[in-house]
Structure formats: C-alpha cells, structure tokens
Subunit: 442 residues, 2 copies
C-alpha cells in the first residue's frame, strides 16, 4: 500500500467538521477503497478555541490559509468561501505549488475557474469541485467523465434548495412568498440576507460552471440572464397547476443559432415531468446529450453531509491518482482551448409563455389585448378569464379587475415583450403583467 | 500528447457499431478530453460481410475473441454477451495479459465478477462495466467513486425497461399484461423469448452487482429472491392507485440484522415518490447512504446510444489512466477482501403488504379472514371490499365472489404467508390470493 495521503482543510464550519469527522472515523474503509490511508494532517481556522470534534493535538493548526495550502500536504481542501481574498490566494498558491485542490466554492469557480483550471493543468494536479454544484449530486463527475463521448445539447436543473423549498411550500400550503421565506429562515434553509438565493444568483453561479462543462466555453457568470422568485404569487402557482404546470426556479443552458442561452428564471414545467416532482430543498439536474439521451440526477443540494460526501469523493479520486497520471482537464477540455462564451440574446429566446394580467372590466379590453397579441404573431394555446370579485359585489365596473391568464404557443421573447408593452400603454391593466417562461421537456 | 489508445471491440451489434461510429466521428473531441487519441484498431465479428458503417480497411479483423483480446491493443471492449465461452475466455485472457477491459455484460459479471475483478487488480488494469447496469445511467462510477466516503444502507431501482414499459402501459391504457407484452415485443422493447426480462432475472443480475458494490460482499446472483411481473393484473394496478400506490418491478438491497436482503419483485411504491414517476422504458436507481442521504438517477436503461455512452465513459477513464496508476478496485474494495454474502431469509422480511383476495360471499368469511390476520398479529391499515358482480345479477350467492383488498402495517413476511395459508385452507377463497410487498420511501 502507498504512502498516506496528507490532507489539509481550510475552514472547519459544518462541512469541514463533518469532513474531518468522517476522515477519522472511516479510516479503514477509506484506505481500502483508495489503496492508501487518508490522513487529516492540518487545518486552518479563524478561532482555535471552538470545539469541532477533533483532537486538537492530532492536527497541525494554521492561521494563514496560504501557509497551509503550501505546507507539506498532498491535497488542499478549501471550505472557507469567498471569491477573493484568502480562498482565491490559497487555492492559487496550492495549485502553483503542485498540490491537488478540492473546493466547494462555487463563487470562486464562477469568477476564477478558468484561471484556476489552467494552473491545475500546468502543474499536473487535480482541481476537484464536486461539492460546488448541487451539493451531494455527483453532477461534475458525471459531466466530466461519464459523458466523455457526448455532446450536451441542454442542461437544466433545480440548484437552489431555498427557492425550491419556498415554491413547494407556497403550493402545498397556499402561503405567500414572504411567509414561506420566513419559514425557510426559521428552519435554517435561508440566510438572514436571502437575496443571493432568492434573486437567482446562487443558481447562476452553479449554472455558469455547468454551462462551461456542457459546451466547452469559458465560464461567464456575468453573462447569465437572471430573474429570481420574489415576484411569484400563490395566484401564479394556482393558475399554473390548473393549466398542468408547476413553477420551479430553473437554471437552463442550451445552444442556439445565435450563441449559448444560459438563464435562470421561474419556469413553468409540465406537472407530469420528472423535474416537477422535485420538492422541498432537494436539487436535481437534467442533462440532454446526443449519445445517451436524457439523464436526471436528484439529491440533497446543501448541508454538511451532502457537501462532505462530495468532497470525500473528490479526495478519494486524488488518493487513487499517482504522479504522472494524466488528469482530465478540470473544465472538461484544456483551459486554454475553452471557447469564448457567445451569449444569445434573451429577446431571441423562443418558447411558450404564461402571462397573467389583471384587466379592467371595460368594453374593448379583451379585443385590444387579443389584437396586440395577434399584431406580434403570437398564437394562444389557452385562455382563462376569471372575475376577481363576484359581479354582485362590484360597485364601480370601471375599477373592477378580472384576471386573464394566457398560455402562448412557441414565440420569440421580443414579440411577447412588445405585446405586453403595447397592452400596458393601452391602459387596460390594473397592475404590472406577470410573464413566466415555459420550458419544454423531452 | 501521449500515444493513441488502441481499442479492440468484440461484437459489432447495435452497441458495438454505435461505439465504433462515435470513436471515429468524434476523434478530435475525444482526444481533447482524454489527452490522447482513441483509435479503433481491431474488431472481432462472426460475419465480416455485414455492413456496419465502418471502413473495412481501417481496422484489423479477428475471428477469435481471445486472439483479439490478447493482441496489440490497450483496451479490450467485450460486447458479445454470454456468461461463458468466448466472452468469459476473452475477458480473462485480456486481464491476464495486462489489457484493460470494458464490458457491458451483466450476466458475465453476475457470475464471474469476483474472479475477473481479482484478475484486473493483480494485473493493475481497469475492469470497467458501467454499461452493464442501468445502461446510460452512470451508477457504477457514482457508487465506486463519488460515494467513496459513504456506507450505503439501501439501494433500489427500476432496472429493466421491458417490465417498466409493460407496467406503465397496463396502467395508462388499462390493458392486460399479455397485450402489453405483445406490444413491447412489436416495438422491440422485449425479446421473442421475454422470460429473462419479465421473470425478473435481468434485474437480479444488475442488482447482484449493485449489492456487491453497496455492501462490499461477493457477488451472489443466485442468492437473490426473484419474482417477476407475470401475475400482475390490471385489477392490482387499479387497486394500488386507489390506495395511493403504483406497482413497479424493483430490485432492492439493504442490510438487515440477519444478513443482506437482496430481492426483485413487484413492489408498491407511494404514488408521490420520485421512483413512481419513472415511466416507460426509463430506468432509475436510488441510493441511500449515511453521509450523502438519498440520491436518485434516471435515464435510458438500454439501447445502442445509452450503452455506447457508458462504454465510452469507461474507455475515456482508461485513456486518462497511466501505467503505475492505482486504480480503485473493480468492485469498490479489493476482490480478495470482499465479504461472504450472508442472505437474509425472505420470510424475515419486514414491511407492509398489499393483499388482494377473491372471497366467496358466505357468512363468516370476513370474520374468518380477520381472525387469521389477527392470529398472526397483523394489523391492517386499510380494507377495501368490492362486489365483482352487482347483487341483482347474482344467481347463486355461494358462488359469488367479492374482491377484498387489504393493506397491512409493517409485519413479518412469515406472518403474512402463514395467514394466507390458513385463509386458503378455510375454503373462502375463489382464487389464489395476490400478495405484493410495499416499499417504504424516505
């Protein structure tokens, strides 16, 4: 059996502590599976006094992540977070020093992934980041290794448990977005400042990485179209269900004639589709590729166990590798040969749309709306009209609003936007219209 | 870039031809991802005259698989099938000669997997068999590599597309088992002799491999409890749905106090569970493990593309490996350290049961059945009683049968069997009772 693999971990929060615990408690099993022992040699934490369940005398303690990352270790595990500062500097330093890196840091990869992949390739070491996307779901390994013979045509998924929990609760219990968010915070599923999750940015970071792996392009997190779930109402969710859909916050990336469409937004998915069944904090990623067809993977997207499991898989791969081993490139193809990311314009997006409008009950309103749609060559799949207040209770018909829900056939987003703008100008709408994209499933 | 990887393929049916086509048509992409070119050097077929879409002059042709397997190649791809004869001999010969092996042959692995894994480990080469279980779903890689830090507690799945297609059609279209089987045969989803699929043996082969990977035990295909889907009726499917269940042919393996329970049988799964949503020929495998929690993967379980995709992933891993690389053991832990398989007795299985009985409408029948259940300490979750013929049409009450459906709480299988035997002896049943196990989901 080979020499033990020396592991250094920076950051001993929930994930780091769980990882350290498993490395110690499952040492025999891990040695058998990896062909060598895994040894937790050193850690870097801000506060040494806190009890993290490891014998303080069994490890070397560092205050400085860069010092740990370049010390006598074989693999550096970065679990501090942050897309600059110590996280970036220590990962860079480790890779330059020829030390393998494992990280769960999606923000870091979304911003500096191409540079870091290049450093890893130059040094002939592994940069493994399974835990950075969809937690415990081994999507990175599957895309990077299992699908080596495939050209991906579309990837999409539910990659933020907070949002999926909120949308699930809104549907199951008929509660408002705000109530469900508060519950999510109470249960520890959402941060005190939830913006990063509910505005879709967290999903965008993960999607940026998957987009690069799917299409061999540079990571371009800033080029992703992002729309969060804050404007989704229980009315939308109910109307969606009536029409055979469910609303999910999806990240979707696909190739189009005008470039790559990489977008995060609330999405109508058919009720019977597998992705519609993913409830609560669970994540799921679906891949469509030319050889294999469609694959879907679901599992826990966050949490100490899920993240530690992914990091352990990454470490085991490193333990099995030997000097001289030709590692597959970190981003699937060599960093220097990643193509520039060419962004398809969202207004060229083609798909079906769910539109919900609150329309004043004036004569001519419906005719005007229908005309505006037809001017843009938008054809409608279904129309549902509902009076918000019973007619008997209406005092001033002019101020009475009806809900109008339209599902369009496939059309250009530019057409939808133009139609909605014209309808707004016509003055029949009591409120901003709601527009939610429909995603076709296999 | 390193020397090209020389590939020899034995068997050029649907899968082999598709694999050869992709190796040739995607050579640039594969070289970039693997760090070296993949070259199809030689093939072995029974009939050379058949057109398989490859230039006959571009490859070396062999008549004898063993000769191909030990020729000047780096990886031997066995796609002939069969658990003895040329498949076994050629794989053995390749491994002994230090040549990596990729195979899609589940029957071969179910029978000789431990021996072959040992040969691979002795020679320091890879034995990759992703395509052998659940087709295009990368379940082997995920279990062998991604879950390195996990102890699996249960694995279960839909691993036979033929059976799942038949059960889906029976439910969707209300057709009998026989009608759906005939349709499956017409569509090419079932063989002319369908026994191997519909009796559950194909699922058992795959489950035997997953059981070994899950629990570190020797492969023991003959020790698996197997029950096929031939006795499932549309009545069962309808009754299941009324009670909130769907019937799937599952392979399930879990640890129990008395050993490993590894079983294949029609199973009631809750309608809302993710596995219940897997319809048609699609496969799915769910894993429950101590660190990660629950994962599920779904995708195509068969077909040229799915199988070729899996084999290509296996070949790419080999292309990236280098002499001296410490491969993870083929079955997750070293072959010589696999534990003996200790079979848990099915009569010790604990779970809920669905029981459908056709009961003669005689006084005392219900009381007798309830007594027999109670004698075995079986408590009932629900009881549905239905008259098969309207009472007005009944001529001889003695011969009139009613359908009685029971769902039990968790109990021992031995108790259920004893109760059903006693009820049968009491003489109230018009036909053999149906008994379907319920599987609890997370």
């Amino acid at each position: 059996m080979d020499k033990p693999l020396k592991i250094g971990i920076a950051g001993l929060g929930t994930v780091g502590a769980e990882l350290a615990r498993i490395i110690n408690s499952k040492s025999n099993m891990l040695a058998e599976r990896c062909g060598r022992a895994l040894v937790l040699k050193s850690v870097c934490v801000r506060d040494r006094s806190k009890d993290r369940g490891i014998d303080p005398n069994s490890v070397e303690w560092f205050d400085d992540a860069v010092a740990l990352a370049t010390s006598d270790i074989d693999v550096y595990v970065e679990l501090m977070g942050g897309d600059e500062g110590p996280a970036l500097e220590s990962v860079r330093a480790a890779l330059k020093a020829g030390i393998h890196v494992v990280t769960a840091n999606k923000a870091l990869l979304a911003k500096h992934g191409v540079e870091l992949a290049g450093l890893a390739e130059n040094s002939g070491v592994l940069l493994n980041y399974e835990a950075a996307v969809a937690g415990g779901i081994p999507i990175i390994k599957v895309m990077r290794e299992s699908l080596a013979g495939n050209d991906v045509t579309r990837v999409y998924g539910i990659m933020n448990g907070t949002c999926n929990y909120i949308l699930t609760r809104m549907e199951d219990d008929g509660l408002s977005f705000e109530e469900c968010l508060a519950d999510a915070q109470r249960l520890g599923y959402a941060e005190a400042d939830p913006a990063f999750d509910i505005e879709g940015d967290d999903t965008a970071h993960k999607l940026a990485i998957l987009t690069s792996l799917s299409f061999g392009t540079k990571i371009a997190a800033d080029e992703i179209y992002v729309e969060g779930i804050t404007k989704i109402t229980t009315e939308d969710i109910r109307a969606a269900k009536d029409l055979g859909y469910r609303i999910k916050l999806l990240g979707v990336a696909c190739r189009t004639d005008s470039g790559i469409e990489s977008r995060v937004h609330p999405t109508m998915v058919p009720l019977a589709s597998p992705i519609a069944q993913i409830s609560g904090v669970t994540n799921a990623v679906a891949i469509e590729a030319d050889v294999v067809g469609s694959l879907m993977m679901s599992g826990p997207g966050a949490g100490g166990g899920a993240t530690a499991s992914a990091a352990l898989g990454d470490i085991a791969d490193i333990a099995k590798s030997r000097p001289g081993h030709q590692h597959g490139p970190a981003l699937g193809r060599p960093a220097e040969r990643l193509e520039p990311y060419v962004r398809a314009k969202m207004r060229q997006h083609e798909g079906g749309y769910f539109i919900r409008m609150s329309v004043f009950d004036r004569s001519g309103a419906m005719a005007a709306i229908a005309t505006r749609m037809s001017e843009q060559d938008i054809s409608l799949e279904s129309i549902v009209q509902r009076r918000d207040t019973p007619r008997s209770e209406v005092k001033n018909t002019d101020l009475d609003a009806q809900t109008l829900i339209l599902i369009t056939h496939e059309t250009h987003e530019s057409a939808i936007r133009a139609a909605l703008e014209a309808i707004s100008k016509d003055g029949y709408l009591a409120a901003e219209p709601q527009m939610i994209r429909i995603e076709e499933m296999g």
